[in-house]
């Protein structure tokens, strides 16, 4: 079988093996989660970011199994391959977007995902309290998802947003940094 590119895998899975759900439903569900968190933490947006990241982590560690089960793809050989898979397969099949991969660092351990279109933040306008626009990363759940998913394939990363159109920036950009490749765990009590 010919080796398929991440783009082909993503398109293929998206077309044939994904059950679709109304985008507004997702947007509104996510929106009310964020809005409720803001209420629960009395607009402590730093806390809200953290909670979103945690929720994302718990989603990510499950989603990765789903991706792997659906795509049956091989292990990535480099972090560059991983970035391609994240954009062309991961984001494609779950959100039907393929964020651009840009701004690689010299050592190839850092890259940016640029979101031209972010279904989570459709309709959204940040609260006009002068604080949210500087503190809240509305789509922070995505960072957690990436962190959780990659940890399961032995890649410890840090993911964070550095700009967001909701804040008035020109682009929505997430910075992903590879911290280290995790070693396989050894059985307990095994020398």
């Amino acid at each position: 079988m010919a080796v398929r590119t991440p783009r082909q895998i993503g398109e293929d899975v998206w077309k044939t093996r994904i059950e679709k759900v109304n985008a507004e439903l997702v947007t509104l569900t996510y929106g009310s989660v964020v809005a409720q968190l803001c209420k629960d933490f009395t607009n402590d947006y730093i806390q809200v970011n953290e909670q979103l990241d945690k929720m994302g982590y718990n989603i990510g560690i499950r989603l990765i199994e789903d991706i792997l089960a659906r795509t049956n793809s091989e292990r990535c050989r480099s972090f560059k391959d991983t970035a391609e898979m994240i954009s062309k397969v991961g984001f494609k099949i779950f959100l039907n977007i393929t964020p651009a991969i840009l701004n690689w660092s010299q050592d190839n351990k850092q890259f940016s995902l640029i979101f031209d279109d972010n279904p989570l933040s459709d309709f959204v306008e940040l609260p006009d309290d002068g604080k949210a626009i500087n503190e809240l990363w509305y789509s922070n759940i995505l960072c957690g998802v990436l962190r959780g998913a990659l940890e399961m394939v032995q890649l410890q990363v840090e993911a964070k947003f550095v700009s967001d159109v909701l804040r008035g920036d020109d682009t929505t950009e997430m910075r992903v940094t590879l911290i280290r490749v995790l070693e396989d765990e050894m059985p307990v009590g095994d020398e």
Binding site: E24, L28, G31, A35, F123, V124, E125, L126, P127
Partner: protein
């Protein structure tokens, strides 16, 4: 001269003003556009007409021309949820069925606003969203001048004599069919 939008108002289910903006070229500042009493007055008169016609109308429907006052023709639309959209046009060409597309566009802008998770729908407060401001302004500006007249599918043929029935302070029924009695005003503009 084509009819320009002079007033856009959204009134809530409880007839509370959600959004009142005038697009009167003589009002230069945004504050004036928000607060000019004449337009608030028009929007509130419209509510009475809505109330009067409600028994004969179904929800989500076109209430047509509500009345004409001070040279402004007021049209109305009520959504399923009881939000009233009110548009005021200056005198000019007859407004036909194309008005529906404006109502739809404004309704859509309102839906987008409501879909913002941080917008509190229960609140009886006026709309302060900048995004909503921008999108309705775009709709109004597109209508008022920047789009070529052909794209607006006006019901009066170019060159045809302008219907010149002076109508003032009259509440009249409105039909959106193209053959309906032309309605226009000749007063100030």
């Amino acid at each position: 001269m084509p009819s320009a939008i002079r007033l856009l108002a959204l009134m809530g289910r409880e007839n509370n003003p959600l959004y009142v903006r005038s697009f009167d070229p003589t009002l230069s500042t945004e504050d004036d556009q928000k607060t000019d009493l004449r337009y608030h007055f028009l929007a509130h008169i419209a509510l009475d007409v809505f109330a009067a016609r409600l028994p004969t109308k179904s929800a989500d429907s076109d209430f047509g021309l509500l009345f004409v006052q001070d040279g402004i023709a007021i049209y109305g639309w009520m959504t399923n949820t009881g939000v009233k959209i009110i548009l005021g046009f200056s005198s000019g060409e007859v407004i036909g069925s194309e008005i529906r597309s404006i109502f739809r566009a404004i309704h859509f802008a309102y839906i987008s606003l409501v879909c913002n998770a941080f917008y509190d729908v229960d609140e009886r407060q006026p709309i302060t969203s900048r995004k909503f401001d921008i999108s309705v302004r775009r709709i109004v500006e597109a209508w008022n001048g920047t789009t070529p007249p052909a794209a607006r599918s006006v019901s009066v043929l170019p060159g045809s004599p302008k219907p010149a029935t002076p109508v003032e302070n009259v509440v009249m029924s409105y039909s959106d069919s193209r053959t309906a009695t032309p309605v226009a005003q000749t007063t100030v503009s």
